[in-house]
């Protein structure tokens, strides 16, 4: 029993890890085939996982409604939105359009999902301004450098800025192409080493936190 509970998961991780790491070095079509198959499998498993998620969401809001927690009425809005979308979607077999015309599901997507998503995204325009106001203060040398770089690039991006300070466009290009490239490169190298080390540890069963194991 302890084998099933403790060692078997580690064995599965090890085998899968080694097989799919080596897959990269095999150019044979069979290896490509293996990769596509397992990708499909992962999608299917992900579908099952969605059941876990939706159950959790249902449960949370059911509890809210049952306990009459503040704002429980909104949970009904959520249920209604979800159930109606599912009903409409299944009615038209999950197709947004049929024969070139929009279905009711497509309508929900175009007139509800798209504007909601777009507006939430657009709020960033306001937040980027308030974040700049709050944090672009020359408190230290580092903060000052960040602030100056941001202001120059902002100037260099718009026609008015290029008009007032013609060189800002060139400086912007230089900062982005040279300084920014250097930093991203170093960050990427660091991250990648960390990622490879973590993956290796998982495959060799050294790191097992993902199994909820902690130390054993």
């Amino acid at each position: 029993m302890t084998f099933l509970r403790r060692q078997l998961p580690l064995l599965i991780t090890f085998v899968m890890g080694v097989v799919f790491a080596l897959q990269y070095y095999v150019p044979h079509p069979a290896s490509e085939q293996l990769l596509t198959t397992v990708n499909k499998w992962l999608q299917i498993i992900g579908g099952f996982a969605l059941i876990l998620g939706v159950t959790s969401l249902f449960h949370q809001h059911a509890v809210k409604i049952r306990r009459r927690e503040p704002g429980w009425g909104y949970s009904f809005v959520l249920y209604a939105g979800m159930l109606l979308t599912v009903a409409i979607g299944l009615w038209v077999n999950g197709k947004e359009t049929s024969n070139g015309t929009m279905t009711a599901f497509g309508w929900v997507y175009t007139y509800m999902m798209v504007p909601l998503q777009g507006t939430m995204f657009a709020i960033l325009a306001f937040f980027i301004a308030s974040a700049a106001y709050r944090s672009f203060r020359a408190r230290s040398r580092e903060a000052a450098v960040l602030l100056v770089a941001a202001v120059i690039v902002m100037m260099g991006r718009v026609p008015l800025g290029e008009h007032l300070l013609p060189i800002s466009g060139d400086i912007t290009e230089w900062i982005l192409n040279v300084l920014n490239a250097a930093v991203r490169r170093a960050i990427l190298i660091g991250i990648s080493l960390g990622a490879v080390a973590l993956s290796l540890k998982i495959i060799f069963g050294v790191e097992r936190a993902y199994l909820g194991g902690g130390k054993e």
Binding site: Y109, S130, F136, R137, R157
Partner: protein
Amino acid sequence: MTFAERMVHIDRRIIFLVIGLCTLLPLLHPVGLAINVSPEVRAVHDYIESLPPGSAFLLSMDFDPASKPELYPQAVALLRHAFKRNLRVIGMTLWVSGTGMADQVISQVAREMGKTNGVDYVFLGWSPGVGSLIITMGQDLYKAFPSDYYNQPTSSLPVLRDIRTLRDVNYVVSLAAGTAGIETWYVFGKDKYQFELGGGCTGVIAPGLYPLLRSKQINGLIGGLRGAAEYEVLIDQRGLAVAGMDAQSVTHFAIIALVILCNAFYAVIRTHARRSGQERVGRVAEE
């Protein structure tokens, strides 16, 4: 709390209001700040300018609502130009999710320019197949689209008289937010059916399309909102895009001004604190 301190900790809703107004006002009343026109946008404009009235111009609006902010103004500007030049306009889309929007833009501009559906322009809508659709259009347009978006049979439409295949089309412009888009039109249509091809695209994919421009696979490229603004300047009809670029300039400078103000107040607080011997403010800020 001194005035400077209060200003540093200003209610952020005031900043939101400033940004909102700086975007909205230029959109309602464009100022038309100077915009330099790039050669790739001018190329599309000049080609349309060179076409004799009555030539066939096909506009493929290959984008969905997500890319509307950038490509919608491009479509409006191109359509206005084509209608002004009295070209016969054929609208369509390769993206099924963009059909409603494409129909809307073409009928709106046509109404504005006093053009009649079926006589001066037609909107074909969407049909499945992407690459094979273009090939079918190259062989027989009426077969690819037996009827237009409004279910009128295409073969009897006055606007499509003498336009049997893509070979009879003089200029195709694809406004693309990805694939299917400009490359699709090039690969399946351009050389085979001998029409000139131009492109418009979102700012994100523009860099990837410059190679096509350099190798003359497309004769011009309108990139992002900026490209649309340039086109509006060229046809001297400043609209959404010029307004958008104005809004960009104004909001960028509003943020810069806010940052400078904030730093000014911050400097005041710091000198104040230093004078009264409170090193704390500076120390806390070092972190």
